[in-house]
């Protein structure tokens, strides 16, 4: 399991957030069905103990158990007009079923 931050993401997080949460957000289809979309958010999860903790570049990454894999994830920051948001690259969509 490899998690990296892009230099821009690392710089953006510096002084703002000491932790990020990488989890699965379920999106429901209009015909029914669902897909799990990997998302990353600054800050701690609601139940940190339910997540795996990793230290990367001085930032604590809380990783949802269903996202643990052999993949390499890259956390990036993107945005415009002064607004920024984190995205996670390398994580694939999953079944929205539990």
């Amino acid at each position: 399991m490899v998690i990296r931050f892009s230099p821009e993401a690392r710089q953006w997080l510096q002084g703002r957030h000491a932790a990020v949460t990488v989890r699965v957000s379920t999106r429901h289809g209009c015909c029914g069905g669902a897909a799990g979309v990997p998302v990353v958010e600054p800050g701690l999860p609601e139940k940190p103990s339910a997540y795996r903790q990793l230290g990367v570049d001085g930032i604590t990454v809380y990783l949802a158990p269903e996202l643990e894999s052999n993949d390499a994830y890259t956390i990036r920051v993107e945005g415009f007009l002064g607004l920024k948001r984190l995205f996670v690259d390398g994580a694939t969509l999953s079944s929205g079923k539990e």
Partner: protein
Amino acid sequence: MSESRSAAVRADDAPDIREGMGLFERYLSVWVALAIVAGIALGQFAPGVPETLSRFEYAQVSIPVAILIWAMIFPMMVQIDFSSILGVGRQPKGLVITTTVNWLIKPFTMFAIAWFFLMVVFAPLIPEELAREYLAGAILLGAAPCTAMVFVWSYLTRGDAAYTLVQVSVNDIIMLFAFAPIVVFLLGISDIAVPWDTVALSVFLYIVIPLGAGYLTRIMLIKRRGIEWFDNVFMKRLAPVTPIGLILTLILLFAFQGEVILNNPLHIVLIAIPLIIQTFLIFFIAYGWAKAWRVPHNVAAPGAMIGASNFFELAVAAAIALFGLQSGAALATVVGVLVEVPLMLALVRIANRTRNHFPAAQTAPAGG
């Protein structure tokens, strides 16, 4: 890789359809067909029910219909995450392709194909006035690309998760501004007169209100209960409302449409033909373009799927609002629902079998 994810990935590197779609959604066409039969039976054997429901009106808007339409659309709107638009700079080729195909090509090919079949080829089989109503329904379908189901299609083709999020938010924002003008323009050149104020009212009722309510609900609930509660508890409870609203709307619609269907059962097949051709055409335009631009498969597939699939709840809602429950336009949009899932699953299979024709996804180095 975790056990659940391993199970979801088959040997050909494509998830099993059953992993992303349950029994209801895989057989949506069957339930829609049953709703049609139930609606016709209701209209024929208990005509008092639809007649009574049709009396509940305010400002010429049927209250039961409005409630059912909001039930269909609100759960889709509440899960839209507009902040994903901030990723608009990623995968620019994919976004150029999908935005161009969805908004500059798809509505017009839908119009052209539907007009050619319904007004020319099938002219001996469909009375002109009815054919024009069917054309109006096809136009509404063509102007409303998929907004939610594309996550499932993207999962089934192993699409790029972050790109799918971004393309959906870009698409939703464009839809807010482009849906009404495109519909009015195409209805106008089809000689179908719809007053601007009627279009404006239906856009306000069935796009602006559910979208605004969805956005405010999302913001408020996330602030109070947190994003994880919103995703894992609230959305899980709300998700079944859309398919239930859809099926109930169809039953009500066909309680009014019974005579039309019983008199012209062949029309469903005739309407389906241009819709099927359009779905494949739009998919292959976007997919072929992505291949020509050497876009990775995990962007090409969801980029092509979003245009091929329709936001049919919106199309059904707009058809009912603009032309009424008993209109041919409403019937045409329902045929769109009827064919949607089998067609999209066929495109999922095509996309998965042609994966090796595209460059593999590049994992950009994080640097530093």
